[in-house]
C-alpha cells in the first residue's frame, strides 16, 4: 500500500532502525536476566545462550535471598527513591510555579541559579557533603541520602516544570483568584493536575539515577541497616572470587521495582487532562 504519507520501503526502513535500536538497548538487560537463571558453569561456558534444562539453576536467587538482608536493602532503596522523588516533585513544582507565575525582582536570575545544578555535578561536592553530614550526625541514615538526592534532582525539575507551568492558562488561575481560592489551592488543585504529564517526565528522569546510584550510599550510608540494593550487590563482588550468580540475580531483582514505577509514571506521561479546561 502506497499513499501520500506512507510507502512500504519507508515503513520498513523506519521499523528496521527502531528494531535495531531496541535490540541494542535491551541486549545487556536480557543478558543479565538470562544468565541469572543459569549455573556458574553455564554462565561461563556459553554466556550468550538462554538457560537450557542442563544449565538452568536458581542458585543465584537462593543465595541472594538466603545470604545478606536483601529485602531490607530493597526497602531502603524504595524508601530513599520514593521519598526523594516526592520532595523533588513537590519543591520543584513549587519553585517552578513561583518562577513562572509571579513577577518579582531577580526572577530570571533566580531561575538561572536554580538551574545551575544541571551543569555542575553534585559529586564534586562529595567531601563537603560528607563533612556536613558528619557534623549534623546524619551519616549512616537514609535521611542523608534523601537530602542529597532531593538536591540532586531539583535543578532539572525546576527547569522542566517552569517551562510547562508557563503554558498553563492564566485565565484559569485568575478565575480561581476571583473565586477566592488561595494561591496554594490554585497550585495544588488547578495547576498541578494540568502539568501531570510533565511531572511524570521529571519523575522518570529523577528516579532512575537515584535508584542506580552507588556513590552516595557507599560514602554516606554504608552501614548494614542503610544499605541500598546497588550497594548490597557489591557484597558478592569479592577481591578474589566474584559470585556472578548472585550478582546477576540481585541486579535482575533490582530492575523490577524501578520498572514498576516507570510503568506507573509512563501512563501519566500519555494522559493529559487539559482538554476542556481551555478552548
Amino acid at each position: 500500500m502506497s499513499t501520500a504519507t506512507r510507502s512500504l520501503p519507508r515503513t520498513i526502513g523506519a521499523h528496521a532502525i527502531l528494531l535495531t535500536y531496541t535490540a541494542i538497548a535491551l541486549f545487556p538487560v536480557i543478558l543479565v536476566i538470562m544468565n541469572s537463571f543459569k549455573s556458574r558453569a553455564g554462565i561461563f561456558g556459553a554466556p550468550l545462550t538462554p538457560p537450557t534444562p542442563g544449565t538452568f539453576d536458581l542458585i543465584g536467587y537462593t543465595t541472594v535471598i538466603g545470604q545478606g538482608d536483601f529485602t531490607h536493602y530493597f526497602q531502603n532503596s524504595l524508601v530513599v527513591t520514593v521519598a526523594s522523588l516526592f520532595f523533588v516533585l513537590l519543591f520543584g513544582a513549587m519553585a517552578a510555579f513561583a518562577l513562572s507565575e509571579y513577577r518579582f525582582r531577580g526572577n530570571t536570575l533566580m531561575g538561572l541559579y536554580l538551574a545551575l545544578g544541571i551543569m555542575i555535578p553534585i559529586r564534586l561536592g562529595t567531601v563537603a557533603i560528607l563533612q556536613l553530614m558528619v557534623a549534623s550526625g546524619l551519616v549512616n541514615t537514609l535521611t542523608a541520602l534523601i537530602l542529597v538526592y532531593t538536591a540532586q534532582g531539583l535543578p532539572l525539575a525546576v527547569f522542566i516544570l517552569s517551562e510547562f507551568m508557563k503554558q498553563v492558562s492564566d485565565d484559569l488561575k485568575n478565575a480561581g483568584r476571583i473565586d477566592g481560592l488561595s494561591e496554594y489551592t490554585i497550585f495544588f488543585r488547578l495547576v498541578l493536575p494540568l502539568v501531570r504529564p510533565s511531572m511524570a517526565t521529571v519523575a522518570v528522569f529523577t528516579m532512575i539515577p537515584i535508584w542506580n546510584d552507588l556513590w552516595f550510599p557507599l560514602i554516606l550510608a554504608p552501614s548494614e541497616e542503610t544499605k541500598t540494593v546497588t550497594l548490597g550487590a557489591q557484597l558478592f563482588l569479592g577481591q578474589f572470587v566474584t559470585n556472578w550468580n548472585a550478582i546477576l540475580a540481585a541486579l535482575s531483582l533490582a530492575i523490577m521495582p524501578v520498572l514498576i514505577l516507570y510503568v506507573i509514571f509512563s501512563r501519566q506521561l500519555i494522559r493529559g487532562i487539559t482538554s476542556g479546561a481551555v478552548k
Partner: protein, 332 residues
C-alpha cells in the same frame, strides 16, 4: 449597587507604560464596552478593575469604596474569560458553586442560585457533566453562569466571544444582552470587535495606546466622533480619509463614511475607476480609485452591478462629511 469609578489609573510593566492615566465613571446598571485595537490596554484595564493586576498609581472605586488594595475575591466582582477558564476537575454545578462555597455561603442558598442561573442559561441538563464533555458554546455559558451565581456588583467580560464560531457568537451576544436586561447589573465588557461594542453597549469607551480616545453611546461615536482614530475605528467598512489639500480644503483630512457616498455613471464630485467590487447581497462595497480623492470605499445598499475598470462618479453627502485638523481632532 454597582457603580465604578476609576481615577487616574496608570500601569507600567517595567519601562513600558500600558495605561497612561485612565479616568472613567460607570453608573449602576450600565453596560460599558471597552473597545480598541490589540495592545491598547483594554484587557489590562479590566484586570486592574478585577484586582488581578495592581495599578502603578491611581484608584479603583467600586460602590464608593476604594478597592485598590482589596484582593479580587473580596471586590464583589465576577469575571468571564476568553478561554472560559473552567475548572477541569469539577462538574458544571461545582464549577458554578465554587466561588460561593469559598465565601462560606450555605449549601441550600448555593443550590438555589445555581438553579436560577442554570435555568436562565438552559444549562440544567449538563449540571453533572465536566467541562471536557461540553461544546464551546456550552462552556462559555457555564462560565457566564459561574459569574451570575455570585450576584456580583460588577460583571467583567474579557473578550468572551472571540473563541466561538460566527453563528454561536451572535447567539451568545444575544444571551448576554438579555442577561443584562434581566439582571439590570453593571457590566463591563472588553472586545476588539466593534460590532459587539455597537450592539451591546450603553456606553462605549474607545481606547488607544493606553489612553481613552472617546466615551459615548454607540450612535454618538458613530455620528460625532471626537477624532480621526474613533472615526476610523467605529463603522464598517472603515471611514475614507482623504488628504484635505488634494480637495482644496483647509482641513488636514476629510472623512466620509462609505455609506455616505453616492455613485453615478454620468456626473459627480469625484471621478474614479472601479478597482474591485464586493457583492454581499444586502449591500455592495465598491473600491474606487479616484483622481482627486485616491482609493476610497463606497457602500451601496442593495445590488449594484459594476465591473472593475468601469468609470464612476462618487459624491459625498456634505452633511455627513467630517473635517479633521492637523492634531486629528474634529473641526467644528
Amino acid at each position: 449597587m454597582g457603580s465604578l469609578k476609576i481615577e487616574n489609573v496608570k500601569k507600567a510593566f517595567g519601562p513600558v507604560e500600558v495605561l497612561k492615566g485612565i479616568n472613567l465613571e460607570v453608573t449602576d446598571g450600565e453596560f460599558v464596552v471597552f473597545v480598541g485595537p490589540s495592545g491598547c490596554g483594554k484587557s489590562t484595564l479590566l484586570r486592574v478593575i478585577a484586582g488581578l493586576e495592581d495599578s502603578t498609581s491611581g484608584r479603583v472605586v467600586i460602590d464608593g469604596a476604594d478597592v485598590s488594595a482589596t484582593p479580587p475575591a473580596k471586590r464583589g466582582i465576577a469575571m468571564v474569560f476568553q478561554t472560559y477558564a473552567l475548572y477541569p476537575h469539577l462538574t458544571v454545578k461545582n464549577n458554578m458553586g465554587l466561588g460561593l462555597k469559598q465565601a462560606g455561603t450555605p449549601a441550600p442558598e448555593i443550590d438555589r442560585r445555581i438553579g436560577i442561573a442554570s435555568s436562565m442559561l438552559s444549562l440544567e441538563p449538563y449540571l453533572e457533566r465536566r467541562p471536557a464533555e461540553l461544546s464551546g458554546g456550552q462552556r462559555q455559558r457555564v462560565a457566564i453562569g459561574r459569574a451570575v451565581v455570585r450576584e456580583p456588583k460588577l460583571f467583567l467580560f474579557d473578550e468572551p466571544l472571540s473563541n466561538l464560531d460566527a453563528a454561536l457568537r451572535v447567539n451568545t451576544r444575544l444571551e448576554i444582552a438579555q442577561l443584562h436586561r434581566r439582571l439590570k447589573a453593571t457590566m463591563i465588557y472588553v472586545t476588539h470587535d466593534q460590532v459587539e461594542a455597537m450592539t451591546l453597549a450603553d456606553k462605549i469607551v474607545v481606547l488607544n495606546a493606553g489612553r481613552i480616545e472617546q466615551i459615548g453611546g454607540p450612535m454618538e461615536l458613530y455620528n460625532a466622533p471626537a477624532n480621526e482614530f474613533v472615526a476610523g475605528f467605529i463603522g464598517s467598512p472603515k471611514m475614507n480619509f482623504i488628504d484635505g489639500a488634494r480637495l482644496g480644503e483647509t482641513a488636514k483630512t476629510i472623512g466620509v463614511r462609505p455609506e455616505h457616498l453616492t455613485v453615478d455613471t454620468k456626473s459627480g464630485a469625484w471621478k474614479g475607476t472601479v478597482v474591485h467590487a464586493e457583492h454581499l447581497g444586502a449591500d455592495t462595497n465598491l473600491y474606487l480609485d479616484c483622481e482627486k480623492a485616491g482609493l476610497i470605499t463606497v457602500r451601496i445598499f442593495g445590488v449594484y452591478d459594476a465591473e472593475p475598470g468601469a468609470t464612476l462618479y462618487a459624491t459625498p453627502d456634505p452633511a455627513k462629511t467630517y473635517r479633521f485638523g492637523a492634531d486629528g481632532k474634529v473641526l467644528k
